[in-house]
Amino acid sequence: MRESLERLAGLLHKEALQILRDPSALAIAFLLPAILLVIFGYGVTLDPHHVPLAVVVEQPDAITQSFVSALGGTPYFTTETFNTIQAADRAFDAREVSGIIWLRANFARQLTSRGDAPIGVIVNGVDANTARLIEGYLQQTWATWLAARSRAQGRPAGLPVAVEPRVRFNAAVSSRDYLVPGLIAIVMTLTGALLTALVIAREWEHGTLEALMVTRASIREILLAKLLPYFVLGMGGMLATLALAVTLFAVPFRGSLLVLTAASALFLLAALGMGLLISSFARNQFVAGQIAIIVTFLPAFILSGFVFDIGSMPWAVRLITYLVAARYFVAILQSEFLAGNVWSVIVPNALALLLMALIFLGAARLGARKRLD
């Protein structure tokens, strides 16, 4: 036992020295996460605001004026007035505006006489998601405008049904608050799987593993000596991302640090297991890197619920997502940050992570032998 610990200590010391001296390890462990965090924190948001709309009012009067100012009064839209629909069309085709609001010549007359006056709306449907969000905002603005008009005229209601939306956990519906927590899963995948697979492949390439194999160090010690340092590195990355998310980007954190740490540890073990497993059959860095990106990094991005809703995917793809460890972790992350300790989310997902960690680590242990063939 004492001998084993001594060997482990020697290997750990070596690993620590290597991490500190290898620029590419540091680049993957710190530079890449920092770039991702900055991009997602500052650059990427799914929420449209100040969407440029062309407004064509063929016969301006007080009524059309009130609708246009209702549009401009929201943070969602900025309006630009065009005299003819042709001019607006040109701006639309040149992608200068994302939509056209077209109030025809008889708009006010129809509105006051028999109602049902059409507000022509053309949105650019190329970016379907944004188009759908713009539609939603427009409907909301329209309903508010109707209600305000009815109230002003002393009539009972604009529309018979009044919708009272209530958004739980993310009242501002900010996409940053939901993307940045998920980023932790991506960052930990990079250190856990990609970096680990790369460093072990490097040991194969340099022949250092062959030399270690004939020493007294057991395969368990060799694996453990890889796991522990990258575990520390991964947890460090998690805590750094958490700190930056909360301080720099003001993402709320409503859960408990303890739960988050425990869940992260489970996920990291699963990711490390995958990294070890990849490196047990990919013995050069190029192949190991490729495989790690394809089977860990991309799925963590696309198939984890990080950006895209899993429930809406076709069933075959949905089945695959059950094999993606990041899926379970992203669910926990989003709850921990925005909701708090929701045990009904945490417990099943944590159990799934535990299972995956056991499977991957177990497979890596079985796959590793102190032999070259």
Partner: protein, 604 residues
């Protein structure tokens, strides 16, 4: 002392066979090899490339699964209990896995801890090893920054932090310069002496094999001979001769002798050609009577190498005598031949005084470090000029500057009248270049490589196909036409590399360590071709650290620490090292003597 009941052999192999199975083919590496190594002895494993040396050592170290047969290490069945066996053996792979971003001390400490050397012993043992390997001054240096020789010594030190009972070394001296080689062997000998170590070492240096108590000769996976070096050498008694002939150049003579039936081997040695005849062949004087010139044939005592070559050639069918016909140009198309001839017209096929390669006070600095320090030399047309030196002496840097791959910091250089770095691209069409690692496109087939390099040298149309045909015939590459270069045997890779470098019949040929890692037989064949080229007027610049290859050079320069230590022809350099104790110094002796002499004034 072996305990009672324990097997006296430190390593015992019984009918060990091993095959590597891949999707495409099955390669048999070992066929029913049975041998053993007695305790406290050094056993050498020799044989051509691909003979199965590495597989044998890896099997013994428990790194490969024993497929058939039985291997016992110190009485332990390796297949059954590899961990127990590993606790008592040390193994150093061909490229020892040093952590290049760790320092010498850190590497040593790591292996000490991993091998559970008690802290008290660790210090003493580490100190001893560092002293023995001469690495004390470099404790804080990163292993990646050590020279090749120092890396190997550090690797050996790491293997020896805990004294094993059986030490397995896989080609520990490949790419290591003669001085470091000598030092490595001194360490091994010392350990065998003081610590009762059993050593099994594979090597492609035959002089190293001679230092062993026993040699195992492997060929194509079979154990061909297992005996002590002296009796192995004695196998070719009465078959080794020195031949010389008045009026015929040594190269021409060698070429003719090599083609003579009954002669197994012909090499240039000093002023003579050394030949080995087939067993039972006629005395050479008779068989050589056909040669015009009067020959002087003197029987000489056999060397280890003679038996090695004879033994290998005996068991393998002799390859078709592919006579280097570069000089005659017999197989070239008319057009091509005339193109080549116009270039060489009016030039005697021997050396002239015209300097084709010219370096004057050539200097290269990397930061503060002066890699090449004001080197000057000249190479005449048709000459084979060698650059010799230890690792880090500045050979490669000089070489790269001459080829235009690296700018010189200072000094002038001319190759065929140009500085290749600044000359028009077409000037490079006059040189051929063969890099150390046979830098061909590994994924391309032989034919594709040839076609590419023919186009690279601006050949096209009929001329291009004629040259490719020439290369296929000349280097017997025909059967391998569609084989992917990666899968070629090492010797053929080397042939292909040379064929590509000669595609355009260059005037000057640059060869960077052309025979590194190649077995003695392939080396011989290679030099035969180079000889023929030189005979036809091609100027050859070659770097090497095989000292016996210096014998093939007309003149050579020995480099150390970026300076020319000595220059001249092989005989005169050897003569400098002649002492009473060493009346017949080898090139290696001369080299080491020169280095020691150079170091002495500094030390004083």
């Amino acid at each position: 002392m072996p305990a009672a009941g324990e097997s006296p052999a430190a390593l015992r192999l019984e009918k060990v066979s091993h095959a590597f199975v891949s999707a495409r083919r099955t390669a048999t590496a070992l066929r029913e090899v049975s041998a053993d190594a007695a305790r406290g002895t050094v056993t050498g494993v020799i044989g051509p490339d691909g003979a199965g040396k590495t597989t044998l050592l890896r099997l013994a170290a428990g790194l490969l699964k024993v497929q058939s047969g039985r291997i016992e290490v110190l009485g332990i069945d390796v297949a059954r209990d590899p961990d127990q066996a590993r606790r008592r053996l040390g193994y150093m792979p061909q490229r020892f896995g040093l952590y290049e971003d760790l320092t010498v001390r850190e590497n040593l400490d790591l292996y000490a801890k991993v091998q559970n050397v008690p802290a008290a012993q660790r210090h003493r043992r580490g100190g001893e090893l560092l002293h023995m390997t001469g690495l004390e001054p470099f404790l804080g240096r990163l292993a990646g920054r050590l020279s090749g020789g120092m890396k190997q010594k550090l690797g050996l030190a790491c293997t020896l932090v805990r004294v094993p009972e059986l030490l397995l070394l896989d080609e520990p001296t490949v790419g290591v310069d003669p001085v470091s080689r000598r030092e490595l062997w001194e360490i091994i000998d010392h350990l065998v002496h003081t610590e009762q170590l059993t050593v099994m070492v594979s090597t492609s240096y035959l002089d190293e094999a001679e230092r062993c108590q026993r040699v195992l000769l492997l060929h194509e996976g079979r154990l061909v001979a297992a005996t002590d070096p002296a009796s192995f050498t004695a196998r070719s008694t009465g078959r080794s001769f020195h031949v010389s002939a008045a009026g015929i150049g040594k190269r021409q003579l060698q070429e003719q002798l090599a083609r003579t039936p009954g002669v197994i081997d012909a090499t240039i040695q000093g002023a003579f050609v050394r030949i080995v005849t087939a067993p039972g062949a006629q005395p050479p004087a008779d068989s050589l009577a056909a040669l015009a010139a009067p020959l002087s044939v003197v029987a000489v005592p056999p060397r280890f190498e003679d038996s090695f070559v004879a033994q290998i050639k005996q068991v393998s069918a002799p390859p078709p005598p592919n006579t280097p016909a570069i000089a005659t140009g017999g197989t070239r198309s008319e057009e091509e031949a005339s193109a080549a001839m116009t270039r060489r017209e009016g030039r005697a096929p021997s050396t002239t005084d015209e300097a084709v390669i010219f370096a004057d006070r050539l200097t290269r600095r990397f930061g503060d470090f002066v890699a090449v320090d004001a080197i000057s030399f000249q190479v005449r047309r048709g000459e084979i000029f060698g650059l010799l030196g230890a690792n880090g002496a500045g050979k490669s840097t000089t070489f790269r500057m001459l080829c235009g791959l690296l700018p010189a910091s200072d000094g002038t250089l001319r190759v065929a009248g140009y500085d290749l770095r600044h000359a028009a691209a077409s000037a490079r069409g006059r040189i051929g270049y063969m890099a150390q690692k046979f830098s061909l496109y590994a994924d391309l087939s032989v034919a594709e490589n040839l076609r590419f390099f023919a186009s690279a040298y601006r050949l096209h149309g009929a001329q291009r196909s004629a040259r490719i045909d020439w290369a296929l015939e000349e280097f017997v590459l025909g059967p391998y036409l569609d084989v992917v270069s990666r899968d070629l045997p090492l010797g053929y890779k080397q042939r292909l590399a040379l064929a590509c470098a000669l595609m355009h019949a260059p005037e000057i040929l640059f060869l960077d360590e052309p025979t590194s890692g190649v077995d003695p037989l392939a080396r011989r064949e290679f030099w035969l071709r180079i000889n023929a080229l030189a005979e036809s007027g091609v100027t050859v610049l070659v770097t090497t650290h095989f000292m016996e290859e210096a014998e093939y050079c007309d003149r050579l320069a020995i480099l150390a620490q970026g300076r020319v230590l000595a220059a001249g022809d092989p005989e005169s350099l050897k003569a400098r090292a002649r002492t009473a104790a060493q009346p017949q110094p080898t090139m290696e002796d001369a080299f080491i003597a020169l280095l020691e002499a150079a170091a002495a004034p500094q030390a004083a």
